[in-house]
Amino acid sequence: MNRSFQIPIKGFSVALPADKQPILTSGFMDNIYPFGALDNKIRLVQRPGFDNVFAQQIGGQAAPVIAMTSVTVVS
C-alpha cells in the first residue's frame, strides 16, 4: 500500500510522547524553515544563510555590535 510520510511543515514540538507526535511536527530538527526564501513558497527547506551587509567591521575588531538604530535627516 502506498502511503505518504509526514513532513514536519508545522515545525518543532516536544510536548507529547514520540508515538503521539502532533501531526506534521518533529521532535528533532534544526536550521529548517517552512518558507523557501529562494522562491517564496511554503515548503520545508534549509534556512537562509547569514550574509554580510557592510564591508566594515564595526568597532574595528571582533567585538559584538550591541545596538542599532537609524536616523532620518532632511537633505
Partner: protein, 747 residues
C-alpha cells in the same frame, strides 16, 4: 507605429505652403527631452494632381535657424498615396533619429512634380500669435540653396518619439536615512550609502560593558548608557565661541553679521557651543553673533562645524540658564513617546520613569502644565511603576508599555493630560530591552517568565505560545541577564519572528524561528560563534538593497538572512560556515500497535521540479534510517546528541555521534583513541554498531530519488540532513510502499 506625441503645432490653419519642383517648405522645432524621433505627421492638402514623390527629411539648423547639412532622417511617400485633404498625413521614418534636448531641428518637404495648380500644400498658420514659440516656418524657392524664415508663420506638424518625461523630472525625496550602530565603545554611522564610518569623537565616551539603548528623535540619536547620556546630532550647525554670559533662548533666531541665520536648538552647559538649524546663509569665523537675548552680542565663532560633514557628539544635558530643571543622573532605557525623549532604568530608582517637555529633550523642569516635563512622582498620573522597569515599548502616540521584571504596565495617553498607568499582567515580565519585537500587525512578542508570549495588538492578556509545543522552554533555555542576551526580531521577508539567545562571553547562539504562516517553531543555530546575535534592527533604508532586518553579530559585522546564501558568512565573508540542517520524521509501519510493517521502497521528491526551472532547485542531502519497536527508541537513535570522546566510559545502549553517524554501544567499555580495542566507533565493531539501519545520499531535483531498502520494523525514523558547504535542500514529499507483516516478537 508612433509612440508618444512630442513637439507639435496643430492649429490656426489659414494659409497654403506650396511645395513642388524647387519650391521647398520647412518648419523648425526644438526638442525638450532626449528621445528617438520615429514619425512625423504633417497637415497637408493635395491640390489637383501633382505627380512623383513627396520627400520628408529632418535636418539640423545653422546659426540662423535654417536647414543645414545632410538629412538626419527621411521618408518618401508617393503623391498618389496622399489624400486630397486637408488632413494629417503620417510619415513613419525609415529609421528613427536620436534627437537631443535643447536642440533645434527642421522638417523639410520637397519633391512633387507639379505647378501652381498641381502641388502639395503644407497647411500653415500665418500670423500665428504666439504660435509655436520655439520654431517657425521656412521656405526656399531654389531647392534649398537659400532658405528664408517666415516670421510669425508656423506650418502644422506633429512629431512622435519614444516616451520620456519632457518637463523637469520631479524629485519627491527630501531626506535621507542613515544607520547608526555601536560596538567596542565606538559609534559608527552610515556616512555614505553602504559605507559605515566611525564617529571619532564618540570613541571610549560610551561603555558597552554597561546596558545601553539608543533612539532616534528630532534628526538626532539619543543614547542612554548609565551616566553616559549622549547625543549624536545629524542636522545642526555648531558654533564654537568664547563663553557667553547668557545663552540665546532655545528656539530663537541667532544672526551673524555676515547675514547667516539659525534657529537655536541646544547650547552646551558652559555656553561655549551653540547648535542650531541654519535657515539662511552660511556661518563663518568672521562675523559677530547676535539675537535670541544672548549676552554679550559680540562673539565671533572660532570654529564652525556642519553636521552634514561630520555629525556632532555632545553630552545630553539640560539647556543652560537655570530654567530647564534637572535631568536624571543615570539611565539605561531611552524611548520616544508623544515627542518626549523619555528615560528610565536609573539604577537607584528602577521603578521611576522621566519625561522631558514635549519636543524639548533639554527641558526637564517638572510641572503640572500640559506639555511640560513629568515623571513618576507627578501628581497628574498614577505615579511610579511598582516594579523594576526593564524595557519601554512605544505604540505610536496611543500607549506605552513598561516591560518590568515580573509584570507588564501600560501607560495610556499623555501623562500630563489624563493619561493613566494600568497593569496588563502580573503573571509575567519581559526579560530585557532586546527580548521583544512587534510584527507588522502590531502584535507584541516577548520572552517572559515561562516562554515566548504574544500580546495581540500590544494590549491583550499575554498568551504563552510555547507552552503547548515546547513546555520547558524557559527552563531549557536557562538564561540569565548577566550571562545571556535574548534577542527577538520580526523578519518581514521570511514572515516570522527570530528568537535567539546568545552567550555574552563567547557568542554561542541558538534559538527558534517562529513562523507566522504555520504558527510553528523551528529551531535554529549557528555553527560559528562569530555569528552570535547581540541585537537586531529592521532598517528601512533609502536603498532597497539594504532595506532588511539587520543583525549585530559577535565579531563586529552586521548581517542579514539572504535566501540565496547556502552558508553563513564569517568575519569579512572571506570564509563561510556550512549550515548544519536536519529534520527527522517518524512513522509507525503498521496500524496495529502490536505488529511490524515492511517498507519496500521510499520515494522522496526534492524541491525544484526540473533543473533550472521556475522553482528553486534543491541541492542534495544525506539521509539515515532507524528502526525500533517503539517510537521513543527510534527517535532517540536518530538524535544521538553526544559526540564520541576518548576517555569516556560507555554503557550498553549509550548513543553517540561520530563523523555525523549515530552509534549505539553494544559492549560496555572506556573509549580510547590511541588504537584498538576501544578505538573510534567507525572501526570498533566490537563495542559499537551503527544506530542507523541505512544511510545514503539524495541527489537531483523533483522525483528522482527512491530508496529500496527492505525495512521490517514497528517504527521507522528517517533523518534528512545537510552539512555540506554551499549546499541547501528542500523536500516536498515523502511516500513509500508499506504492508503489514507479523507481530512484534519479544521485546
Amino acid at each position: 507605429m508612433a509612440s508618444t506625441l512630442r513637439q507639435n503645432y496643430a492649429t490656426g490653419d489659414d494659409t497654403a505652403g506650396v511645395v513642388y519642383g524647387n519650391a521647398w517648405r520647412a518648419q523648425s522645432f526644438t526638442v525638450v527631452a532626449d528621445h528617438s524621433i520615429d514619425q512625423v505627421d504633417l497637415y497637408l492638402q493635395k491640390v489637383l494632381a501633382p505627380t512623383g514623390n513627396l520627400i520628408l527629411e529632418i535636418f539640423a539648423v545653422d546659426d540662423a535657424y535654417k536647414p543645414t547639412g545632410s538629412a538626419l532622417a527621411t521618408k518618401t511617400i508617393a503623391c498618389s498615396a496622399i489624400p486630397a485633404g486637408p488632413g494629417w498625413v503620417a510619415f513613419v521614418l525609415d529609421a528613427s533619429y536620436a534627437s537631443s534636448a535643447g536642440i533645434k531641428y527642421a522638417i523639410v518637404i520637397r519633391g512633387p512634380v507639379g505647378d501652381g495648380s498641381n502641388h502639395i500644400s503644407w497647411r500653415t498658420d500665418a500670423n500665428s500669435s504666439p504660435g509655436y514659440t520655439t520654431g517657425n516656418s521656412i521656405t526656399s524657392a531654389n531647392a534649398g540653396v537659400v532658405w528664408t524664415l517666415i516670421a510669425a508663420n508656423d506650418s502644422l506638424f506633429k512629431e512622435y518619439g519614444d516616451f520620456s518625461v519632457d518637463s523637469v523630472t520631479p524629485v519627491d525625496k527630501t531626506y535621507s536615512r542613515k544607520l547608526v550602530t555601536i560596538a567596542n565603545n565606538e559609534l559608527w554611522y552610515e556616512s555614505a550609502p553602504d559605507t559605515m564610518s566611525e564617529l571619532a569623537a564618540a570613541k571610549n565616551d560610551i561603555d558597552v560593558t554597561e546596558p545601553l539603548t539608543i533612539v532616534e528623535a528630532f534628526q538626532k540619536v539619543f543614547i542612554a548608557n548609565g551616566t553616559n547620556l549622549k547625543v549624536i546630532d545629524f542636522i545642526n550647525t555648531k558654533l564654537t565661541i568664547a563663553a557667553l554670559t547668557t545663552a540665546p533662548t532655545r528656539g530663537s533666531t541667532v544672526t551673524q553679521s555676515t547675514g547667516a541665520t539659525m534657529i537655536v536648538d541646544f547650547v552646551k552647559t558652559d555656553k561655549t557651543e551653540i547648535y542650531g538649524y541654519t535657515t539662511s546663509g552660511t556661518f563663518d569665523t568672521t562675523g559677530t553673533l547676535s539675537g535670541g537675548s544672548m549676552d554679550p552680542e559680540d562673539k565671533v565663532p572660532s570654529v564652525v562645524n556642519q553636521a552634514s560633514t561630520t555629525p556632532h557628539w555632545y553630552d545630553w544635558t539640560v539647556y543652560p540658564g537655570g530654567s530647564a530643571g534637572t535631568m536624571p543622573t543615570s539611565a539605561y532605557l531611552v524611548a520616544l513617546y508623544r515627542a518626549r525623549v523619555i528615560l528610565a532604568g536609573h539604577p537607584s530608582y528602577p521603578h521611576m520613569w522621566y519625561m522631558p517637555k514635549v519636543a524639548d529633550p533639554y527641558n526637564w523642569l517638572y510641572s503640572t502644565a500640559p506639555l511640560d516635563a513629568v515623571n513618576g512622582n507627578s501628581p497628574t498620573v498614577s505615579g511610579q511603576v511598582g516594579d523594576i522597569i526593564r524595557t519601554i515599548i512605544v505604540y505610536g502616540d496611543d500607549f506605552l508599555i513598561f516591560g518590568c521584571a515580573n509584570s507588564i504596565q501600560i501607560l495610556t495617553g499623555d501623562p500630563q493630560s489624563g493619561g493613566s498607568i494600568d497593569e496588563a499582567s502580573d503573571k509575567t515580565g519581559i526579560f530585557s530591552f532586546t527580548s521583544w519585537t512587534r510584527d507588522e500587525d502590531g502584535n507584541l512578542y516577548f520572552f517572559g517568565n515561562h516562554g515566548i508570549y504574544l500580546m495581540a495588538g500590544g494590549r491583550s492578556n499575554p498568551v504563552n505560545i510555547t507552552k503547548n509545543v515546547i513546555p520547558n522552554f524557559a527552563t531549557d533555555w536557562a538564561v540569565n541577564p548577566l550571562t545571556h542576551r535574548v534577542v527577538l526580531a520580526y523578519d518581514a521577508e521570511n514572515r516570522g519572528i527570530v528568537i535567539v539567545k546568545t552567550v555574552l562571553a563567547d557568542g554561542t547562539c541558538s534559538g527558534y524561528f517562529y513562523s507566522l504562516d504555520t504558527q510553528g517553531f523551528y529551531p535554529i543555530s549557528f555553527g560559528n560563534t562569530a555569528d552570535g546575535i547581540y541585537c537586531a534592527f529592521d532598517y528601512n533604508a533609502d536603498d532597497p538593497t539594504y532595506r532588511k532586518l539587520l543583525f549585530g553579530c559577535a565579531d563586529g559585522y552586521i548581517r542579514k538572512f539572504l535566501g540565496t546564501n547556502k552558508n553563513d558568512d564569517v568575519g569579512d565573508a572571506s570564509s563561510t560556515e556550512p549550515i548544519l540542517s536536519y529534520f527527522t520524521t517518524i512513522e509507525p509501519l503498521s496500524q496495529d500497535s502490536d505488529k511490524k510493517g515492511k517498507l519496500t521502497s521510499l520515494t522522496i521528491e526534492m524541491s525544484g521540479g526540473g533543473t533550472g526551472g521556475a522553482f528553486a532547485d534543491s541541492d542534495g542531502c544525506s539521509y539515515a534510517t532507524y528502526v525500533a519497536n517503539d517510537a521513543e527508541t527510534v527517535l532517540e537513535r536518530s538524535q544521538a546528541l553526544v559526540a564520541w570522546a576518548t576517555g569516556t566510559t560507555y554503557a550498553v545502549g549509550d548513543l553517540v555521534t561520530y563523523s555525523s553517524i549515530e552509534y549505539i554501544c553494544i559492549v560496555a567499555h572506556t573509549a580510547d583513541d590511541s588504537g584498538p580495542p576501544n578505538e573510534e566507533p567507525d572501526t570498533n565493531t566490537t563495542d559499537w554498531e551503527p544506530a542507523t539501519f541505512s544511510t545514503g545520499a539524495l541527489t537531483g531535483v523533483g522525483r528522482k530519488n527512491r530508496i529500496r531498502d527492505k525495512i521490517r520494523a514497528a517504527w521507522l525514523a528517517i533523518k534528512f540532513f545537510n552539512s555540506t558547504v554551499s549546499e541547501t535542500f528542500g523536500i516536498n514529499k515523502i511516500f513509500g510502499d508499506v504492508k503489514e507483516v507479523g507481530k512484534i516478537k519479544g521485546k
